[in-house]
């Protein structure tokens, strides 16, 4: 797993992908910080991170789209699948590599925290830490969705578009849920909003660190990766 993680991580920065991702993220992040913190004299980072979440939704697929689709297309998956590594090793390695880039990019924005700490007297470390934790967990979930979509197709562009589509869908899920007003079906509302990725993120933004929410995101990633493993394994048995 470590070897695959290392290779993918290197690859992000050997090719332009890592730089494009970080460049866009940090450029937009800088503007967001200016608008929601400096310009409006606010010491709360939740506004900036909330906006950056939308950006993540759109640009995380850049990191994940080729992870598995390109291996399949170039048949370099023949090396991985005939090596003693298990499919879990492969998928986890790739997932962690993309997550590492997400963490590195996010870590750079800690610079803004320093600015806030210096110029504001209303920074609460615990609140900021919770904000960041929620932001990262949501980012990891986008990566996990991306890995699954990349496993499903041989085409990078399809993988990216699928990932963005699913991300958007999960985003609007909550409003879909709350628009169900048919009597007797209100349990759907509860179920759907329970599943919503974004609703739980709001808890983190408000500074609520709930164990259940952390577990939710981790299991969400787990399920996505499990499905990706099944997709790859099924293809080997395919008789189509």
């Amino acid at each position: 797993m470590l070897a695959i993680w290392k290779r993918e991580l290197q690859n992000y920065f050997l090719t332009s992908i890592g730089y494009v991702f970080m460049g866009i993220f940090l450029l937009v992040g800088g503007f967001m910080f200016f608008l929601s913190n400096i310009y409006s004299s606010s010491a709360s980072l939740s506004g900036m991170l909330g906006n950056l979440n939308y950006l993540f939704m759109l640009i995380v697929p850049i990191l994940t789209m080729k992870l598995l689709s390109e291996e399949k297309r170039n048949k370099s998956d023949q090396l991985l699948l005939t090596s003693p590594r298990s499919i879990w090793d492969i998928i986890l390695g790739k997932f962690c590599a993309a997550c590492t880039v997400v963490v590195i990019s996010t870590a750079v924005t800690l610079f803004y925290v320093i600015i806030l700490a210096v110029y504001s007297n209303k920074t609460y470390p615990a609140l900021i830490a919770t904000n960041y934790l929620g932001f990262l967990l949501l980012g990891f979930s986008y990566v996990a969705i991306g890995v699954l979509m990349s496993a499903l197709t041989e085409n990078q562009v399809s993988a990216a578009v699928l990932t963005i589509g699913v991300n958007l869908l999960l985003q609007i899920l909550e409003s879909v849920g709350s628009s169900i007003t048919i009597p007797g079906l209100s349990f759907l509302n509860t179920v759907i909003s329970w599943m919503s990725l974004y609703k739980r993120f709001n808890d983190f933004s408000g500074g609520i660190l709930s164990f259940a929410n952390v577990i939710y995101y981790i299991s969400f990633c787990g399920v996505m990766l499990f499905l990706a493993v099944r997709v790859i394994d099924k293809r080997r048995w395919s008789e189509g």
């Binding site: 290779r7 290197q10 690859n11 090396l79 991985l80």
Partner: protein, 315 residues
């Protein structure tokens, strides 16, 4: 060493591999012959664990590929038809990555890679990006990859396809050299390639094994006729008749005009009767110059025809 037992692979309604069984013996160089689409690559992919068979078992020293994939795969090196390379890496980075995923001990990696690159003769390109290498070098890097971790068995799927003649000769030499201390399976659709390096041959056609034997035994059965390609400057019909009447001629095919004022023929004759001398004398007598006379190698095609014909007769 490796036992392939009743392996089948189904794709839709088509059986790509149909109840294939054979054994790969320790230390041998086994040729796996078949036309494009005969099921060679599918079989290789099953034996290496890339895909799973619909039915049947593959065992290596008692390890089942499904029950013990890790132990199994550790003992096999695979060079697929298209070498599984990462174009954005240098040769060295790539091979180090392969070492890592194949459980090569850290302390051993350096000397191991020095040995392999020396053997495959890619030492001078180790620092170059794979995407900038020529096709021949890419093939070599693919081969180096298959040797990482000292696998007991090395499986190569059409290793010489797309290479220029000089590269082909070098790769074949290399395979022979590797055969000295590895068990090797070499798949190919070129008979003389297999004849050059392999001791034993398994022939597959339409997903079924049609023959497995030493090459000597196989060629003995089909070598009672020889074929020539002729180019003669003379009237087609007349030349055709004259060739037909030479004793020992089995068949003559008219191949049309390839060069101005001449005709090409494909002649099959009994091996015992050398028709070249009477042919020369006849043509000289008639005053039709022989522009070309080229013996044709026995092609895989002929073995196939022979094998399928034999089958027809048995039925």
């Amino acid at each position: 060493m490796i036992e392939i037992q009743n392996v089948s692979k189904r794709y839709g309604n088509k059986l790509a591999v149909n109840d294939v069984s054979f054994t790969i013996k320790k230390g041998e160089i086994l040729g796996f012959l078949g036309r494009n689409g005969a099921g060679k690559s599918t079989t290789m992919n099953i034996v290496t664990g890339y895909i799973s068979a619909s039915a049947g078992r593959v065992l290596l020293d008692g390890y089942d590929i499904l029950e013990n994939p890790r132990e199994f795969k550790r003992r096999i090196g695979y060079l697929p038809e298209m070498p599984p390379l990462y174009m954005d890496m240098t040769v060295d980075e790539y091979l180090r990555f392969v070492c890592a995923i194949k459980d090569v001990k850290k302390s051993y990696i350096k000397s191991h890679l020095d040995d392999i690159t020396e053997l495959i003769r890619i030492t001078d390109v180790r620092r170059r990006l794979i995407k900038n290498l020529s096709k021949g070098y890419k093939q070599r890097v693919g081969m180096a990859q298959a040797l990482v971790g000292n696998p007991e068995v090395v499986i190569m799927d059409e290793p010489t396809v797309g290479l220029d003649p000089k590269q082909i000769i070098e790769i074949r030499k290399l395979i022979k050299q590797l055969g000295e201390d590895h068990t090797i399976v070499l798949s190919s659709h070129i008979l003389h390639e297999v004849a050059d390096v392999c001791e034993r041959v398994v022939i597959i056609n339409q997903g079924k094994i049609v023959a497995q034997d030493t090459l000597d035994n196989l060629t003995k059965n089909i070598s009672d006729s020889s074929r020539y390609r002729l180019r003669i400057a003379g009237p087609e019909r007349e030349v055709y008749k004259v060739i037909r009447e030479i004793p020992g001629t089995r068949s003559v095919d008219e191949m049309g005009t390839k060069e101005a004022d001449s005709y090409d023929f494909l002649v099959e004759a009994e091996r015992t009767a050398d028709i070249r001398r009477p042919l020369f004398q006849q043509m000289a007598k008639l005053g039709y110059p022989i522009l070309m006379l080229r013996p044709m190698d026995i092609e895989l095609e002929d073995i196939f025809l022979q094998l399928t014909n034999d089958k027809g007769e048995e039925q």
